[in-house]
């Protein structure tokens, strides 16, 4: 999505190689990081961006000044892809995760386990990555870091409401949609 935004001449947010602010990065190290709408709008006005990526859990405020886009993937496919991501993408880094085995992952996802040992990898090397990742992400930081087995039907309904409320992109007037900046929950 970031590449598509770039190729469509969106003005991208942040100074990272991706489209996101540092505080919205997948490797953000603060468990409870949460950007208010006022702060987000101020950042957007400061850098003049029309497209922001958000690579972590959703904020606790929805911003009426933004339109939201999200892309989902079949859950098991996403998990398999995530394993290959952590095996390969970071292989050349000082801290890489080529040591992770499927058995490790099954342990992280076992009931009661809360594996969040790598502050830079909450999104990829954690319990959350393999236990109802979408619901955790859409319910925000308060749910994202729960132990495995703790996501409930109540959380599911909240996540559904988020999809209904935050992504109601059906009747958006075309001209208006193009005037507002976008947040991409990728």
């Amino acid at each position: 999505m970031c590449d598509l935004a770039h190729f469509n001449a969106e003005r991208l947010s942040g100074n990272t190689a991706n489209c996101n602010l540092e505080s919205d990065d997948a490797h953000v190290t603060t468990k409870g990081v949460d950007i208010s709408c006022d702060d987000r709008l101020a950042k957007q006005r400061r850098d003049g961006s029309t497209w922001m990526g958000l690579e972590r859990w959703i904020d606790s405020e929805m911003c009426s000044n933004f339109y939201y886009v999200t892309m989902l993937r079949e859950p098991l496919d996403r998990m398999v892809s995530n394993v290959h991501q952590i095996w390969n993408t970071y292989a050349d880094r000082k801290t890489n995760f080529s040591w992770v085995t499927p058995e490790d992952i099954m342990t992280w996802a076992s009931p009661g386990k809360a594996y969040f040992d790598y502050p830079t990898e909450f999104m990829e090397v954690s319990t959350a990555a393999y236990d109802n990742f979408y619901i955790r992400t859409l319910c925000g930081a308060g749910v994202f870091f729960l132990p495995a087995g703790s996501v409930t039907r109540e959380h599911l309904e909240t996540a559904k409401n988020v999809l209904r409320c935050v992504f109601p992109a059906l009747h958006v007037p075309r001209a208006a949609s193009m005037r507002r900046p976008h947040i991409d929950y990728a």
């Binding site: 949460d34 208010s36 405020e61 929805m62 499927p102 999809l163």
Partner: protein
């Protein structure tokens, strides 16, 4: 806007119509995050996949819900494009009836937009943001972090 990777070819229409993008092919932008070919086999065996499937049953429900939402919106968008009628602003849900939210917080204070849209293009306020407790089966009032 809800998109799905497996059906991105269908969803491109939404990006084009609602966001105004001209280039919507993933092939046109390269493969930055694609697998490199250095992958190990697997990674999960059948039994592990079954456990993960069961563990993520609620996520699968959400995924099915999102897909239904996406299909419904795509279909209505296609109808709109066919008729080329004037689009009526609305935030009414288009999928299943909305159940009572976990809590009903007041919406965040509206921040004035830098350039107000013409009257015919203004939208109704977005619905209240659902907030949940991190504890099981307990609701909490919304207290937006500031």
């Amino acid at each position: 806007m809800v998109l799905e990777l497996e059906h991105f070819d269908e969803d491109r229409q939404q990006l084009s119509e609602l966001v105004g993008w001209k280039k919507t092919s993933l092939l046109s932008v390269g493969v930055d995050n694609a697998a490199t070919g250095k992958t190990r086999a697997g990674p999960f065996d059948t039994q592990q996949l079954q456990v993960l499937f069961d563990t993520n049953a609620l996520d699968y429900e959400l995924y099915c819900f999102a897909n239904a939402l996406r299909r419904r919106r795509s279909s209505l968008l296609a109808e709109q494009l066919q008729t080329r009628d004037v689009v009526v602003p609305s935030t009414a849900p288009v999928a299943a009836p909305v159940p009572a939210p976990v809590s009903a917080p007041a919406p965040p204070a509206p921040v004035p937009a830098p350039a107000p849209a013409p009257a015919q293009e203004r939208e109704k306020p977005l619905p209240a943001w659902p907030v949940v407790s991190s504890k099981r089966s307990e609701t909490v009032p919304a207290t937006p972090a500031r």
